[in-house]
């Protein structure tokens, strides 16, 4: 019983990270039908900015967090105004824009290399890393914060999308931006909001995972892949399905690690995703997306 508790807690912790990146990818996809391959770079910028503001500039923690979020917003605006909008104005297909985001990711990684160098760096922890006993389970405040922030951001996203008029605008733009514009919705601003909100979520992820994973300018790629896997498994069209996909992937990883070997986790997960796509091409929880077609 204790063993399954440990596994589920580890799955939930790792799944919260994958889920938040998946949610971020889905948020942008939900407004403009483009998969942002630079999503992991937003997380990387969050991690590396934490080093800049907390270690190099010695800012107080809350000032540093504010500064990190401003960096995330600026990065989102650069991506939206520098890559997405110019390509859209030239009538580029979604696939071309995706490649544009991939190019932006590589450029961001290169600029980060010039600023922070190539080495893996230690990131200060916002919450304590000391052992914390939850009954028979042992964790720490930083890991619990990841789960708490995941739950909180899911709630905020749900409220925003389903309980506010602006959320209705987001969903309408995601279905058809041109029609939404004809209905008086400022679709371009909705898309901008999608970029900014997803970058903020990723920046927060960076603050949380930095102390656990360390910071390295090349870390964004892996996170993008995990987030993309989460979104595909759960359902790309819904941020909540993508988040659930992240948790599912991490729980399977933890189960395979706990009862077998992590060596086989990725082949098993990809087999599951493939098998699932045969039966549910829109993802396990992708009815939201499928129902709209």
């Amino acid at each position: 019983m204790e063993q399954i508790g440990v596994i589920l807690l580890a799955g939930l912790t790792n799944g919260s990270v994958y889920g938040l990146v998946g949610l971020s990818i889905s948020l942008i996809y939900g407004t403009n039908r483009v998969i942002n391959f630079a999503q992991g770079e937003f997380v990387m910028l969050g991690v590396m900015s934490a080093i800049l503001f907390m270690v190099t500039l010695h800012l107080p923690t809350w000032a540093a967090i504010g500064a990190i979020l401003i960096v995330a917003i600026l990065a989102a605006l650069v991506l939206e105004l520098g890559v997405y909008q110019p390509l859209m104005r030239r009538g580029a297909a979604p696939l071309t824009i995706m490649i544009g985001t991939l190019a932006a990711a590589i450029i961001a990684s290169g600029i980060a290399l010039l600023i922070w160098g190539p080495l893996q760096l230690a990131v200060p922890n916002v919450f304590s890393l000391q052992a914390l006993n939850l009954g028979p389970l042992v964790t720490n405040a930083q890991q619990l914060a990841i789960i708490g922030v995941f739950a909180g951001l899911l709630l905020v996203t749900w409220y925003l999308m389903y309980r506010t008029p602006f959320g209705l605008c987001i969903r309408a733009t995601g279905v058809n931006a041109r029609v939404a514009s004809l209905m008086g919705i400022r679709a371009d601003r909705v898309v901008r909001f999608g970029f900014i909100f997803s970058a903020l979520v990723s920046g927060i992820v960076g603050i949380l995972i930095g102390p656990l994973l360390g910071g390295q300018v090349g870390m964004g790629v892996t996170l993008t892949v995990k987030g993309f896997m989460a979104a595909i498994l759960g359902g790309l069209g819904s941020p909540f399905a993508a988040a659930a996909g992240g948790v599912m992937i991490a729980v399977v990883e933890a189960l395979v690690a706990g009862y077998g070997s992590s060596l086989y986790a990725e082949p098993i997960i990809f087999s599951l995703i493939l098998a699932m796509l045969f039966f549910r091409p829109y993802g396990l929880l992708g009815d939201f997306e499928a129902g709209r077609r």
């Binding site: 580890a10 990270v17 656990l212 360390g214 390295q216 690690a257 070997s261 992590s262």
Partner: protein, 410 residues
């Protein structure tokens, strides 16, 4: 007829061909006339900005110290040594391209580099194709020197040698119940398999072996299983960042048994990230700070590049460079260089490396030497090579390990 030739767009005009031939002859003669006075070029190709940048930068620094020593002493027979350096960024294709450039365009006499295994392996076929000596550094994958590759030499230890050294230490110190934990990358799995085999050969039981993904933020399932198995020592085969997570999770779960971590813990990254969770950890190293020459080298290193902990990485670059520089001074090599025969010079360097195979460098314990020969292109011997160091001061320093306290139950 000539007019027809002039009009044909697919036929090069004769006057132009003549001028080009003259120009090429002039250039070639200029080249041969000045070659003897030109610097001797050595290429350094390694990861200096990717995930293994720590190792590449330190080895390159060691390499530069060796070259500077020779140049400051007037060069080799009056010829200065020039360094051509490329950053392969942990990318095998890019690294192979740079190695080709060294051999083909730069006219290098040898290539040195190769800490991360995949890009290091990518340079082996290039060395064979261009017949240029290639001295690989810490890339430890066992089979990299198994295939016939006459121009390829390995200066650092194999992963299985690290594993055997750890197994020997554990057996000598009286441990009976060993837990192994490794990441799922080839370095982790290969090393764990080698350690398991070596431990079994010493009659020691591996009570549990766990593998983990390097990107997992929570390693509790694996560490929980380790704890349940009640080992008296834990051996870890990680990369830098994930190794720190293993050590922190061991500490978090109250596992205070003795721990040995593979050579990745020599990198400050792992110890910085682990902090006090890394204190007391033992690490296999190939640098013996009791040796005066080693201590002197690290003093020079510190003066030029800033203080460095005594690890194998700077020494690998230094030793590899010294072996090649020694070969460059050999009469066969000098004769080939005087005759402007680059290919012959490379062959002569390869032969000299084999001939001087028992070179005593800075790696290994006092008296230990490399063991290169015509049949054996892997330098480090199995005995008298490893020295264990311990982590102290919240991961900041490495000191000689006190083995009297490294016992079961300590």
């Amino acid at each position: 007829m000539n007019n027809a030739l002039h009009r044909d767009p697919f036929v090069v005009r004769t006057p132009s061909t003549t001028w080009r031939a003259i120009l090429l002859c002039v250039l070639a003669s200029m080249g041969s006339a000045t070659w003897a006075g030109q610097p001797l070029k050595l290429c350094y190709v390694d990861d200096r900005s990717g995930v293994a940048a720590d190792t590449g930068i330190q080895s390159f620094n060691g390499f530069q110290i060796a070259v500077s020593e020779v140049n400051d002493a007037g060069g080799i027979n009056g010829q200065k040594v020039e360094v051509v350096a490329y950053d392969g960024k942990t990318d095998p294709e890019l690294t192979a391209t740079f190695a080709s450039r060294c051999a083909e365009d730069d006219g290098a006499l040898a290539i040195i580099g190769g800490n991360p295994a995949a890009p290091a392996a990518a340079m082996i076929p290039i060395a064979s194709e261009y017949e240029i000596p290639y001295l690989m550094l810490s890339a430890g994958t066992d089979n990299l020197t198994d295939m016939p590759a006459p121009f390829h030499f390995r200066v650092g230890p194999r992963n299985s040698q690290d594993a055997a050294a750890i197994a020997e230490l554990v057996a000598k110190q009286g441990f009976k119940r060993v837990a192994l934990i490794n990441n799922s990358l080839p370095f982790g799995t290969d090393s764990a398999h080698a350690a398991e085999a070596a431990l079994k050969a010493s009659g020691i039981t591996v009570v549990i072996q766990q593998t983990y993904d390097i990107n997992a933020t929570d390693l509790s399932p694996q560490i929980g299983r380790l704890r349940s198995a009640n080992p008296d020592v834990v051996i870890v085969f990680p990369y830098a960042a994930d190794g720190a997570r293993v050590l922190r999770t061991l500490q978090q779960q109250g596992m205070s048994v003795p721990r040995v971590v593979a050579r990745s813990a020599l990198l400050s990254t792992l110890r910085d990230l682990a902090g006090d969770a890394s204190d007391g950890v033992l690490i296999p190293n190939t640098v013996d700070m009791q040796r005066a020459d080693v201590k002197q080298f690290f003093d020079s290193y510190g003066a030029r590049f800033g203080e460095a902990q005594p690890t194998m990485y700077p020494v690998l670059g230094y030793d590899a460079a010294k072996m090649v520089l020694k070969a460059l001074a050999e009469p066969d090599v000098q004769k080939a260089l005087a005759q402007d025969e680059l290919a012959d010079a490379r062959v002569a360097i390869r032969d000299a490396l084999v001939r001087n195979g028992n070179y005593q460098g800075l790696q290994g314990r006092a008296g230990a030497t490399y063991q290169f020969s015509a049949e054996r292109h892997h330098g480090p011997p199995d005995q008298n090579w490893f020295v264990f160091v311990a982590v102290t001061d919240k991961g900041k320093h490495l000191v000689a390990a006190d083995l009297s306290t490294f016992k079961p139950g300590s």
